[in-house]
């Protein structure tokens, strides 16, 4: 189109005509891109980071989009992008504000979103983790769900769980989403310190700690699996999008 616009052998009106078609098509494409990303927010987080938010609550579809987008924007290896980290349903993009402006980076993000897939990618690893169901809150959790401890354990380990997020603390893993009837809220009181390897449960998810930390989640068990090792590169074994199966170990 632009070629015809530039070609001088065409008449003035022909060139104007092609120019208008070019603008119209460009606008159409931009609208399509905006439309595709509808519901996705690109928000400044200070003057050195952008938050790309796919949803306001934990939905599997938004989680998959976040993981895919984080991968895709990493592949650009853009010189002004300093760090990329996917969270449950959002992605943090940290940048050097001397090299790129918020608006320039937003348009790069929009284009990446446009090309990013909505489906799960196939190269995930399935981790089997041996779990001792001996947590101090196990009984209470079962009661809250009107299940016996035995029934809860069977339900909890019945299917593989997707790794939804890492990065809350070193090596920390969020996985889920459990069946709707297994959802319970956090505890009212925060436990001061749970050890590394604790399996904690709330909000439709299970999480595995790799460092000692305070938590408001219910402690349902412990495992020997440690996902954080500073001598390894990268320092974690479990990646976003991997699957985890909890295998019950008799106590």
């Amino acid at each position: 189109m632009l070629y015809f616009f530039i070609r001088l052998d065409k008449s003035f009106w022909q060139r104007v005509f092609y120019f208008y078609i070019f603008i119209a098509l460009s606008l159409f494409l931009i609208m399509q891109i905006l439309d595709m990303n509808e519901g996705t927010q690109i928000i400044p987080l200070g003057d050195e980071a952008i938050l790309v938010r796919f949803a306001h609550n934990i939905v599997e579809e938004a989680n998959i989009k976040a993981i895919n987008f984080a991968k895709d924007i990493s592949l650009l290896k853009h010189v002004a992008i300093k760090e990329i980290a996917a969270s449950l349903v959002s992605v943090l993009v940290k940048y050097d504000n001397r090299k790129i402006s918020f608006f320039e980076l937003s348009s790069i993000i929009r284009l990446t979103l446009f090309q990013s897939k909505n489906d799960e990618e196939g190269n995930s690893i399935h981790h089997k983790i041996e779990l001792k169901y001996d947590g101090e809150d196990l009984k209470q959790v079962s009661q809250m769900l009107s299940l016996s401890v035995e029934e809860f354990i069977i339900r909890h380990s019945e299917k593989p769980l997707r790794v939804l997020s890492t990065g809350f603390a070193p090596g920390f893993i969020y996985c889920g989403i459990h069946a709707k009837d297994l959802h319970i809220p956090r505890r009212n009181k925060i436990r001061n310190l749970v050890p590394s390897g604790a399996v904690i449960f709330a909000a439709g998810q299970s999480a595995i700690t790799s460092t000692a930390m305070p938590t408001g989640w219910h402690v349902i068990g412990h495992c020997d699996f440690n996902n954080f090792d500073v001598s390894m590169q990268p320092p974690t074994k479990v990646n976003l999008g991997d699957y985890i199966s909890f295998q019950r170990v008799k106590i």
């Binding site: 050195e48 938050l51 969270s87 349903v89």
Partner: protein, 292 residues
């Protein structure tokens, strides 16, 4: 070459520029609370060594052992004594064997830096010597420095003129205005609260550390703000987070990588150093700024 700490203010640590690229594995960057002061040390020394001792408000004392070594002192305002003689602050000195160094607090600031012409001999963890005491990572065994700690020094690194990362903004400790960019949850707060945030004063509380600085909200702007149930999202240094009990906290270098509390704004990167140096009870104001 080594130095032995004879007095350490609480939560003094070893820092370097920071540990970058590990957020997705749950590791915050850490790094100096006052980046400008940290870089100034390297500029004065003209060194490639990246590690520094960051001490807190009460200062630090140490004894140096070994052959002559250059050292730079930067940060807030502190009083410096080398072998009981008062010296100028924010200068380079050459230390000799058995020199006794005393650093006492002076008129302003929470953080100061000791930089040598040579790295501090602690093992880099994930590419950095910065300490994060919250998760016991890096620095001196993942811990804050304490009396009796002995830190060896490596020989001087190549003396190339390194490019200064100093920001052009003059450090003015009298300036108590901090610029914010409206945060990812600003729209969850009423217009009244947003107006108050950028017009009424706040005060720095005594609860401050490398993770965050709690603010005193004398005008009760955030009083009664209920816990909003938010999905956990990434957080950054400078975020003003409102806890369930209406307490405003500014997240600092050792913040957790993500969190579920609402964030009304973020202090811009070039104002963070100055903010970190504000002592408890200082009166501060926030001004909004558009992102470019």
């Amino acid at each position: 070459m080594k130095f032995v700490i004879t007095r350490a203010s609480p939560l003094s640590t070893i820092q370097d520029e920071g540990r970058f690229g590990y957020l997705k594995y749950g590791v915050s960057a850490s790094g100096p609370m006052d980046k400008n002061a940290y870089f100034l040390g390297a500029d004065l020394l003209n060194t490639n060594a990246t590690s520094a001792v960051e001490f807190t408000q009460a200062g630090m004392d140490f004894i140096y052992y070994g052959e002559g070594k250059r050292v730079a002192f930067t940060g807030g305002d502190f009083s410096l004594f080398i072998n009981q003689k008062e010296k100028n602050w924010r200068r380079v000195y050459k230390l000799a064997h058995d020199d006794e160094i005393i650093i006492k607090p002076n008129s302003w600031g929470n953080y100061g830096y000791i930089r040598f012409d040579g790295e501090l001999d602690v093992k880099p963890i994930l590419g950095s010597r910065a300490t994060n005491t919250i998760v016991s990572l890096g620095g001196f065994g993942g811990n804050a420095l304490k009396v009796g700690d002995e830190i060896n020094l490596l020989s001087a690194s190549i003396k190339n003129k390194i490019k200064s990362n100093l920001s052009s903004t003059q450090f003015d400790n009298q300036n108590n205005i901090f610029h914010i960019i409206w945060g990812v949850h600003a729209n969850l707060f009423s217009q009244q609260i947003r107006d108050d945030l950028i017009s009424k004063p706040f005060f720095i509380s005594s609860q401050l550390n490398r993770m965050g600085v709690r603010l005193i909200d004398k005008n009760k702007i955030f009083e009664g703000e209920k816990i909003l149930s938010l999905v956990s999202e990434p957080v950054v240094c400078g975020d003003i987070q409102i806890l369930g009990d209406g307490v405003a906290t500014v997240l600092m270098r050792d913040h957790q990588p993500s969190g579920g509390y609402p964030r009304i704004g973020t202090i811009i990167s070039s104002d963070i150093d100055r903010f970190a140096q504000m002592r408890p009870n200082s009166k501060i104001f926030f001004k909004s700024k558009a992102v470019k």
